[in-house]
């Protein structure tokens, strides 16, 4: 498998629930080299002290996405910790 090409991109991130509290903000725009949501989460986990959830999901541009999908400039990303509606 080819490794994903690294380039700087601006990603818009929105935070909810426990991640919003840990980050201390509702969202941010981040200039990053992260190639995938998995890499982005690792970068943000270090920056904000996010927990390493076993079952967190990811959304890219307001649709459920894959942790290993390629991120593009201007994508919006939301990490979804375990939900509790109802």
């Amino acid at each position: 498998m080819h490794s994903l090409r690294r380039f700087m991109k601006t990603i818009k991130i929105e935070y909810f629930a426990i991640l919003r509290e840990r980050a201390g903000m509702a969202g941010e725009s981040l200039l990053t080299e992260a190639a995938t949501p998995a890499e982005l989460y690792a970068e943000l986990a270090e920056k904000h002290g996010f927990p390493a959830f076993e079952s967190v999901k990811v959304a890219i541009n307001d649709e459920f996405g894959d942790w290993n999908a390629a991120l593009h400039d201007a994508d919006s990303v939301v990490f979804i910790p375990p939900v509790a509606g109802g």
Binding site: A84, G85, G86
Partner: protein, 153 residues
């Protein structure tokens, strides 16, 4: 009006029910989720719901569409609250109208079960003790943290 809605004002179940009335329906089933004063041994004082609305609306509508695909119902609606809720408040309302009762029961059950598991809505409980926590998040985060602490194993 959409079949899955999120609102920050009080839910009016009677208004929602009337909107589903139909002369071709012989059955109507609804489910109301209420704010309870106890969860896992802790006394709850109030609740706070937060939604990732853009995706929650899409996923909620998909669930309603799936229910209509699986069961021969006429109409189904689900409304979920966000914001601050007190004990006894209505947090979620599901209503299904159908020609007959069996499919109305089944579709209603399907919708509430799927909504709870799939729609990006989070609940924060504020306890009488003064503590608070995001349901399903705090424990698994603590658990994951313990793993991280032992990552050198």
């Amino acid at each position: 009006m959409s079949d899955f809605r999120i609102q920050s004002v009080a839910l009016a179940s009677e208004t929602e029910r009337q909107a589903l009335a139909s002369p071709t329906c012989g059955g109507f089933v609804s489910f109301e989720g209420w704010v309870r004063n106890l969860n896992e041994g802790q006394e709850v004082r109030r609740l706070e719901y937060q939604a990732y609305e853009a995706l929650a609306l899409k996923e909620g509508s998909r669930i309603i569409a799936e229910a209509a695909e699986k069961y021969p119902i006429e109409q189904a609606v689900c409304v979920h609250r966000v914001g601050e809720l007190e004990i006894g408040d209505l947090a979620v309302w599901v209503g299904v109208s159908a020609g007959h009762r069996d499919e109305a029961f089944k579709a209603c059950r399907y919708i509430i079960d799927e909504v709870k598991h799939r729609v990006p809505i989070w609940k924060k409980e504020h306890y009488v003790s003064g503590d608070s926590g995001w349901v399903n998040c705090e424990q698994c985060a603590t658990h994951a943290h313990d793993h991280a602490a032992n990552a050198a194993d």
